[in-house]
């Protein structure tokens, strides 16, 4: 376990990259403009790529450089590009009927982060410096889960929902870089490709939604109940 021997420089690098990613999630949460979501998501992916690279460097896992490059390429460039295409095609610029105002969703998000911290703190048993990094990684992993689900709940544009799902995935990916850098390379690469297929499928479905259901807002997808 390299985290057991982490020094303070490494700890602060990992922590700041992780915290910055969390902050970018709040940027998404606090904005109603779809473009901003995509930019924040792209920036977050680049941060995660930087995190992979730095973990690879300090912990001595050269294969993480591959992951870093692929993350930057796929999550940082290809996915945002695909999302921008969807947005351009849909001609929706902003979330119109969000259930919560940005301010209240920010407050709710902050509460969720606290809740995530409480859970993360319970899951830790290691002492000292490594514990800081571990608890932080767990907190951010869980809070990005919660924030992703919050976005899925309060936003109703199809693109926002795709982004909510991507935030869920980013949280896992971020945490796994710190906690389990030794995870087999194959799995990580397959998960990256999987994400690409997911977004492609979503793109096709969004087109179907426009053509066959006449709306991309989940608020109006209310034919099936009971």
């Amino acid at each position: 376990m390299f985290l057991a021997h982490v020094n303070s420089l490494q700890a602060s690098i990992f922590s700041s990259l992780a915290v910055l990613s969390l902050l970018l999630t709040f940027v998404m949460l606090g904005s109603h403009w779809l473009r901003n979501y995509v930019y924040a998501f792209a920036a977050q992916s680049w941060l995660i790529a930087a995190l992979s690279a730095s973990v690879g460097y300090f912990a001595g896992y050269p294969e993480l450089y591959v992951i870093a490059v692929l993350t930057a390429l796929f999550r940082g460039l290809v996915l945002p590009y695909l999302l921008m295409r969807i947005i351009a095609r849909l001609n929706v610029k902003r979330e119109l009927h969000a259930l919560l105002q940005p301010s209240s969703s920010l407050v709710l998000g902050a509460l969720l982060v606290m809740f995530a911290f409480v859970i993360a703190n319970h899951m830790n048993w290691q002492p000292l410096l490594s514990a800081h990094v571990v608890v932080l990684a767990l907190t951010i992993m869980l809070s990005m889960k919660f924030l992703g689900f919050l976005m899925l709940t309060v936003r109703d544009e199809a693109v926002s929902q795709i982004l909510g799902l991507l935030v869920l995935e980013n949280g896992i990916f971020l945490g796994s870089q710190i906690l389990v850098p030794g995870m087999p390379l194959l799995i990580e690469i397959v998960i990256l490709f999987d994400l690409l297929i997911v977004v492609a499928c979503f793109g096709m479905l969004v087109r179907f939604l426009v053509v066959h259901a006449g709306t991309t807002s989940s608020r109006q997808l209310n034919r099936l109940v009971g």
């Binding site: 995935e169 995870m183 297929i197 997911v198 034919r223 099936l224 009971g226």
Partner: protein, 487 residues
């Protein structure tokens, strides 16, 4: 030898996909799918026999065929066969001749991913296989391209992708916990997770297990994560509904069973079983209440799936030989019975041109043969003897009454009665109520749509009267080997 069987098992649906998409002939893709499915069924049973004496590990331990996986493969192959035969008759009614090759390509691809999920030995790859089943089946759900089916497909992919991402998080936490015992890099096999689980810090293990349970529970349709299920099952074409309900839910239950096996013997074992029982009984109760007040015919079947997945969860949660064997027997029986029910519902929907129960009257006059089969199937799925679901539910009940969860067993019985009355009341109305003035039904049964109903019904009756010793043997072996047996 096992290797050859496996190659055939996976080559057949792949060939189906390739033929359908390459040749683009509707007739050819129909028959290719049926033949592929029959080959799979013919291979799956000897495969089960091959692994009775222990699992077979292949491909640098990335693949492992064990008894539990082989059992689920048999269940999936049965549904694949029945619904591909039914699809030939049903899909021709949709007037989508040009898109049929695409349909069959996706259909076989869907079967392929589900079968793959049963044999992967790597927990991460298992997750990916389950995720792929979602992506492929989304397009099958939305195949009819109406407003409702597109909406259902969208809800399906959003809810299930969100849920399944929790399972990924849980998987990674499991791996992290194991890395303290097995070193930072190890193969993420089921066995490795099980080896390390007893030494993992218990709160961490607990959170990981709950995440995985909720994740795969979403895919399996356990309440309260079942919200996508009634939409997706009711809006997809009938053969796809049967596949979703009879096969896909099994593949997801396999995930839950495997993780129960991972945490067996650890300090959270007892809690894990309680959590599964809790989700099971909650699904059962929710489904029972929705069944009583249901108005759509396929939504009725969909809620019945939630109910039966709840029963399987109860069996796994009660544990012990009776509980686990009962749950797995229930899996087989439910696969047969639910296919029968969806086929009947598909016939009725097409004939009367409505999805509403209130629009379907006088079924026996329209469908003397397949209508009778459908009615008998309804009696069976409500849990009445002499059909197979009665036997498996009774076994699960025995496991519950004798164990720690007597309260759950009592609730189970009470709501079983509610389901029985509620479900059969709808069928009484459809079969025996006075038919209002209505135009003569447009579609009548054909061999393609009646034959699979017979093929589902006969084994259901036989398995209800006689629990073959060979099957009992396999199921007890699974509960001893995989799930730790008696508690």
């Amino acid at each position: 030898m096992t290797k050859d069987l496996l190659i055939i098992l996976f080559a057949a649906p792949l060939a189906g996909v390739a033929l359908s998409l390459a040749v683009r002939s509707s007739r050819l893709s129909e028959y290719a799918t049926v033949i592929a499915a029959i080959i799979d069924l013919a291979v799956s049973i000897p495969l089960l026999g091959r692994v009775v004496n222990g699992p077979v590990v292949l491909a640098h331990s990335y693949l492992q065929v064990d008894l539990l996986g082989a059992w689920v493969i048999v269940c999936i192959s049965i549904v694949y066969t029945l619904s591909s035969v039914y699809a030939v008759g049903y899909m021709r009614l949709l007037n989508e001749e040009d898109r049929l090759p695409l349909f069959y390509g996706l259909f076989s691809g869907f079967a392929f991913t589900m079968l793959a999920a049963c044999i992967v030995n790597n927990v991460g790859v298992f997750w990916i296989a389950i995720e792929l089943t979602t992506l492929i089946s989304t397009f099958l759900v939305g195949f009819e391209r109406e407003a409702e089916s597109t909406e259902a497909a969208w809800k399906y992919i959003v809810v299930v992708s969100g849920g399944i991402s929790l399972a990924l998080l849980g998987t990674i936490l499991f791996y992290w916990g194991g890395s303290f015992i097995l070193g930072p890099s190890y193969a993420m096999t089921w066995a490795a997770l099980h080896r390390s689980a007893p030494s993992v810090y218990p709160p961490l293990l607990l959170v990981s297990f709950l995440l995985v349970l909720v994740g795969y529970g979403t895919k399996a349709g356990l309440a309260p994560m079942h919200t996508w299920l009634p939409d997706a099952h009711s809006e997809s074409p009938a053969p796809v509904s049967a596949m979703l309900s009879g096969a896909l839910l099994n593949a997801s239950m396999l995930g839950i069973a495997r993780f129960l096996a991972v945490v067996r013997g650890t300090s959270i074992d007892r809690f894990a079983h309680s959590a599964v029982v809790g989700f099971g009984i909650f699904s059962f109760v929710i489904a029972a209440l929705f069944i009583v007040r249901q108005t759509g015919i396929k939504r009725l079947m969909a809620y019945s799936s939630v109910e039966h997945i709840g029963v399987q969860a109860l069996g796994l949660g009660f544990g012990g030989v009776l509980g686990v064997a009962g749950a797995l027997y229930h899996m087989l029986n439910h696969s047969l019975n639910k296919s029968l029910m969806f086929f009947g519902a598909g016939n009725a929907m097409r004939a009367y041109g409505t999805k509403e129960i209130s629009g379907i009257r006088g079924v026996l006059k329209t469908f003397p043969v397949s209508g009778t089969l459908w009615l008998l199937g309804a009696v069976g799925i409500a849990g009445a003897p002499p059909f197979a679901l009665f036997l498996s539910e009774f076994t699960i009940l025995r496991a519950g009454i004798g164990g720690r969860y007597r309260w759950a067993a009592v609730l189970f019985v009470v709501f079983l009665i509610v389901v029985f009355i509620g479900f059969l009341a709808h069928f009484r109305a459809m079969f025996f109520d006075e038919a209002p003035e209505q135009p003569a039904p447009r579609v009548l049964g054909t061999v393609w749509r009646t034959l699979p109903m017979w093929l589902a019904f006969l084994p259901l009756l036989v398995l209800g009267l006689w629990w073959p010793h060979a099957i009992w043997d396999v199921l007890t072996k699974i509960s001893y080997n995989v799930l730790g047996g008696a508690q």
